[in-house]
């Protein structure tokens, strides 16, 4: 046993970079590129000069550079360090969220980030990825007991604390991402479907209560997608403008930086959460499909890595990240096209935001590590 594993690991060390998943990196970079281009166009539209547009682009490039560095570092390290540091990571998650609650500044009314030296840190973004790791570690630690109710309860409790803290910021959207991660990972870990259904029923029962306890404007925002005329001037304004922008994109869009609504600055927050509406307006249906396709390919690579992982830890991490990306994609793009409630969830890699970018790249780096440290050298 010892000889085989040492040979195995020697082979792995030597060949790992051969199995580096270039496609994953490619799709990530392409999406980031879209994000940069759209972000530039959007910041022009928000009344910025080309100078401020450039400054946002420059910032994005810098964040991406930092993120890619982290990406490669995380990729080269054997991901099993995650199991060693599970507990400190969890403590760090709780700590970061606590800090945010205490001294966070308000971005559009939600206490979501902490500003240090002029830079905004949205800790909830990195906490998402960290919780994927924590949960993955927990679930693999369950081994054969994974099918029991206690697994589900344990995972639920583990996740519930950060989820609740995020929900109270108040950031309903990100709290839901945590839930999506939990559900996706539980499902793929082999947890009991029956018990999960029961849990789901419980959540559905509690949902109306949760909605009630939101601030009024948040409640209104949630229901805008059902009927935007509820408050066209105010809370539903973003959604109406987004739909107009998307719809007017047609097949090929109005051209980069030439989108009518974008240019007239009529889309508030377009350089952040509603960025997809700029894609749709300026690049049309085809452009939108391309972005969706890139995401599809990205998630495919993530799942392939997960399937090929050597152990459950790797699979869990990949599934967790896939769930996260898919859920955010669904809610963000869904919101822009009016089939999902309006929440403040960023579109991965595309939405302008350093914390989100770095967290995702960190996650992608771990995935690469899973791939490189999992495969048998003969594959």
């Amino acid at each position: 046993m010892g000889a085989i594993s040492s040979t195995f690991s020697q082979n792995v060390r030597a060949h790992k970079w051969r199995v580096f998943d270039w496609q994953l990196l490619l799709y990530v970079v392409l999406l980031v590129g879209f994000g940069v281009a759209m972000g530039y166009s959007a910041s022009l539209g928000a009344g910025g000069s080309s100078a401020s547009g450039m400054s946002q682009t420059v910032k994005t490039v810098i964040w991406t550079g930092i993120g890619l560095t982290i990406f490669f570092v995380a990729a080269s390290v054997d991901y099993h360090w995650l199991t060693t540091f599970t507990v400190p990571i969890y403590v760090a998650v709780l700590g970061l969220l606590a800090i945010t609650t205490v001294i966070g500044t308000s971005l559009f009314g939600a206490q979501m980030s902490v500003t240090v030296a002029g830079l905004d840190f949205q800790f909830s973004e990195v906490c998402k990825v960290l919780m994927v790791v924590v949960l993955a570690s927990f679930l693999t630690g369950r081994r054969e007991k994974v099918g029991r109710l206690s697994t589900i309860v344990g995972a639920g409790v583990l996740m519930a604390i950060p989820t609740f803290m995020v929900y109270r910021q108040p950031d309903l959207g990100t709290a839901l991402v945590f839930v999506a991660i939990l559900v996706g990972m539980l499902f793929m870990s082999g947890a009991s479907i029956g018990w999960m259904a029961v849990m789901a029923g419980g959540v559905v029962a509690v949902a109306p209560l949760a909605v009630q306890s939101l601030a009024i404007y948040q409640q209104q925002r949630l229901f805008c997608f059902l009927d935007p005329s509820v408050d066209p001037q105010h809370t539903c304004y973003q959604l109406i403008q987004s739909l107009n922008a998307v719809g007017s994109g047609g097949w090929f869009g109005e051209g980069l930086t030439a989108g009518g609504l974008n240019r007239s600055g009529l889309l508030p927050v377009q350089s952040t959460d509603f960025i997809f509406s700029v894609v749709a307006e300026e690049l049309g249906f085809i452009g939108g499909l391309i972005v969706l396709a890139l995401f599809g390919l990205l998630v495919w690579r993530v799942l392939v890595i997960g399937w090929g992982a050597r152990d459950a830890l790797g699979t869990m991490v990949s599934v967790g990240l896939a769930s996260m990306i898919l859920f955010q994609l669904l809610v963000n793009v869904g919101m822009v096209v009016g089939i999902m409630p309006v929440t403040g969830i960023p579109l991965p890699f595309v939405t302008y935001g350093g914390s989100s970018m770095i967290s995702l790249l960190f996650g992608m780096g771990i995935l690469e590590s899973v791939r490189m440290h999992s495969r048998k050298p003969t594959f």
């Binding site: 109406i240 719809g247 007017s248 047609g250 969706l292 459950a312």
Partner: protein, 637 residues
């Protein structure tokens, strides 16, 4: 088949779950892609149109309000720039209403509570501007400097009305009743007038010419196409769709200098006799143009122009004499002996009497068909002996006219009154005109009786009991006599002017009716009116060196409830016109003065008219008598 889990160290992968996960992902992408297709391809045109509509808008361009000049071209209502501090709810609420408004209030020295009240009372779109208060130019600059600390607060330059007197001073009390003022449009009015282009908070005329000529003064708003930003604010003008049409400038028929003379004369008279409410009006009988219209006490409409404070408004409401009312046209009073014009004319016209026929007069007139002893007194309790119409008019015998009234009957009397414009609005283009009351069978029926009592009819003949008129109606009636029998529509606006006050379009006088009485009969009354002045019944006014033969009538009208010494309080009237010779129809000046409850021995209104004429014709004489001390005639009538 190779073991799918080969090489796995612990938990097996479940292919089924992977597939399920993958299928969900595919469904997700299909859903999003399909929705994109629906929005962009299937419904693309719809959204393209909405997108275009969302960022452009047509916003109105206000038109400058027309100016108002007096008869000689003096500006009496002008527009000046004023600075208004306004708040946009969307921005202010986000930063905290109390904080922002508190800062603003301390900066400009206003009451934060009042501003907050105005802010909270607004119910429009959160992206509109709520006017908070007007400020001086310096305060406006301050607010601009500190705009960073005041999110959502903007200063806009809005035109404001200023009302001037005959010297150009900022004093609206001279012409307040004639001109009125403007105020912000109310929500109910807006509901009705929005289709005519009125915007929330637009100024709209209230009272006076500002109100009755609102359409002319307002002009027509223009429109421009603007591009809007995310908050609905205009960022760029794309096109001017329609230029605004400025409001028409108007010229009053009133001469501010004459008005000042009237106000001063009336003020003197009211003060000298302790009267609290009075009217003096001057008219040109040939055209019906009102040359002066003084109703005292008056108010300063400049207070309304800037938005009157609650204290000031209360003060106006509670002040005796009711300064906000234009007594000249809105209030009715018994005309007393001045009404004998109607009775006399009606008697002549209906053939009840002739110019020369003599009638007995009595100390007390026995009411026909009434129990013995029920009689109506003459002011002269001994009677005058037999009189003809001219004499009776000059000396103002009551019992003569009781008989005239009773003999011609209520219908003929009513008809004569109507011919002279009583019992209905004169048609002057001013709001709030009262119609007055003239005794009629219909009136009796409405009060539950088949007919007027004879006694009431007799009293109607001397302008008491069921007769109530406005000072304007009385003046207009005597003007009708003065111009040869044409009932004119009184004019308050002479026409439209250029921006510098030059008349460019004159409004034409309008004849509303003509008297049925013959010219000869009318002349009889005109001569009688001259006799009033020359016989001494109007004291020493005949001694004024006037360029004409002043003719008119005095009146003392009892009203209300008996006082402690069993007498009734009374008003004082004097109405007169100035033809070149007795009986002529060329008078260009007619004056009336009314003083309310002028319970003094003298005829206050007569003294006021005297004083006015002295001023108007710049006479050296001052023949005024102290209304408290009259030795010439006792028991003044």
């Amino acid at each position: 088949m190779a073991d799918l889990n080969e090489g796995r160290l612990d938990l097996p992968r479940s292919p089924a779950r992977f597939i399920a996960f993958g299928v969900s992902a595919v469904l997700l992408f299909t859903l999003l892609g399909g929705r994109l297709f629906q929005l962009q391809i299937l419904q693309g045109d719809l959204y393209a149109r909405r997108a275009a509509a969302a960022h452009t808008a047509e916003i109105p361009i206000p038109a400058p309000r027309g100016l108002i000049f007096d008869r000689t071209g003096r500006p009496v209502a002008v527009n000046v720039p004023s600075w208004a501090v306004k708040a946009r709810p969307a921005d202010v609420t986000k930063a905290g209403v109390s904080t922002v408004i508190g800062r603003l209030a301390s900066l400009i020295g206003a009451d934060a509570k009042v501003l907050e009240q105005r802010f909270d009372a607004f119910h429009g779109s959160p992206y509109d501007l709520v006017p908070l208060t007007k400020v001086s130019r310096q305060a406006a600059l301050l607010v601009g400097e500190r705009s960073q600390e005041l999110p959502g607060i903007v200063v806009e330059v809005d035109p404001q009305r200023e009302y001037l007197d005959e010297k150009g001073n900022l004093d609206g009390s001279l012409l307040a009743h004639a001109i009125g003022y403007t105020g912000p449009i109310s929500e109910t009015e807006l509901a009705n007038l929005a289709s005519q282009g009125y915007l929330p908070d637009d100024p709209i005329g209230r009272d006076g010419v500002e109100s009755s000529f609102e359409q002319e003064l307002r002009g027509t708003y223009g429109a421009q196409l603007v591009q809007r930003d995310a908050l609905g604010r205009a960022v760029k003008v794309l096109d001017t769709v329609r230029e605004p049409t400025p409001g028409k400038n108007l010229m009053l028929t009133i001469d501010a200098a004459t008005q000042r003379m009237a106000v001063d004369a009336l003020t003197w008279g009211m003060k000298a006799s302790g009267v609290q409410e009075g009217v003096t009006m001057v008219m040109n009988p040939q055209t019906g143009e009102i040359l002066a219209m003084a109703s005292l006490p008056a108010y300063d409409n400049n207070k309304f122009a800037a938005g009157i404070s609650a204290t000031d408004y209360q003060a106006y409401l509670t002040r005796p004499g009711k300064p906000l009312r234009n007594h000249a046209i809105s209030d009715t009073y018994p005309p007393g002996s001045t009404f004998k014009l109607v009775t006399g004319l009606g008697a002549l016209e209906s053939g009840v009497t002739t110019p020369t026929r003599l009638w007995p007069t009595y100390g007390c007139y026995q009411i026909p068909n009434a129990p013995r002893g029920q009689c109506l007194f003459d002011w002269n309790h001994t009677g005058f002996g037999p009189l003809n119409l001219t004499q009776a008019f000059a000396i103002s015998s009551d019992t003569f006219f009781y008989q005239m009234a009773v003999k011609q009957g209520v219908d003929r009397l009513g008809d004569a009154a109507a011919q002279l414009g009583f019992g209905k609005q004169s048609g002057v283009p001013l709001p709030g005109e009262a119609a007055g009351i003239v005794a009629s069978t219909e009136w009796a029926r409405r009060n539950g009786r088949p007919n007027l009592y004879t006694g009431e009819l007799a009293q109607a003949g001397i302008g008491q009991n069921v007769i109530a008129v406005t000072p304007l109606q009385l003046l207009n009636a005597y003007s009708t006599l003065a111009n040869g029998g044409k009932l004119m529509r009184p004019m308050i606006v002479r026409g439209e002017t250029s921006d510098s006050g030059k008349l460019v379009k004159a409004y034409l006088p309008e004849i509303l009716g003509t008297l049925k009485a013959s010219t000869a009969d009318q002349r009889v009354i005109r001569i009688a009116a001259r006799e009033v002045v020359t016989s001494g019944h109007a004291y020493n006014i005949r001694d004024l060196n006037l360029p004409g033969a002043l003719s008119g009538k005095t009146g003392t009208a009892e009203f209300g409830a008996k006082t402690r010494n069993n007498t009734l309080p009374f008003h004082s009237w004097f109405v007169a016109y100035l033809p070149s010779k007795p009986g002529a129809t060329d008078a260009k000046l007619a004056v009336v003065t009314f003083t309310y409850a002028a319970v003094v021995p003298g005829n206050v209104s007569l003294e006021v008219v005297k004083y006015f004429l002295q001023k108007y014709f710049k006479l050296d004489q001052d023949l005024r008598l102290d209304p408290h001390n009259f030795a010439l005639v006792r028991n003044a009538n």
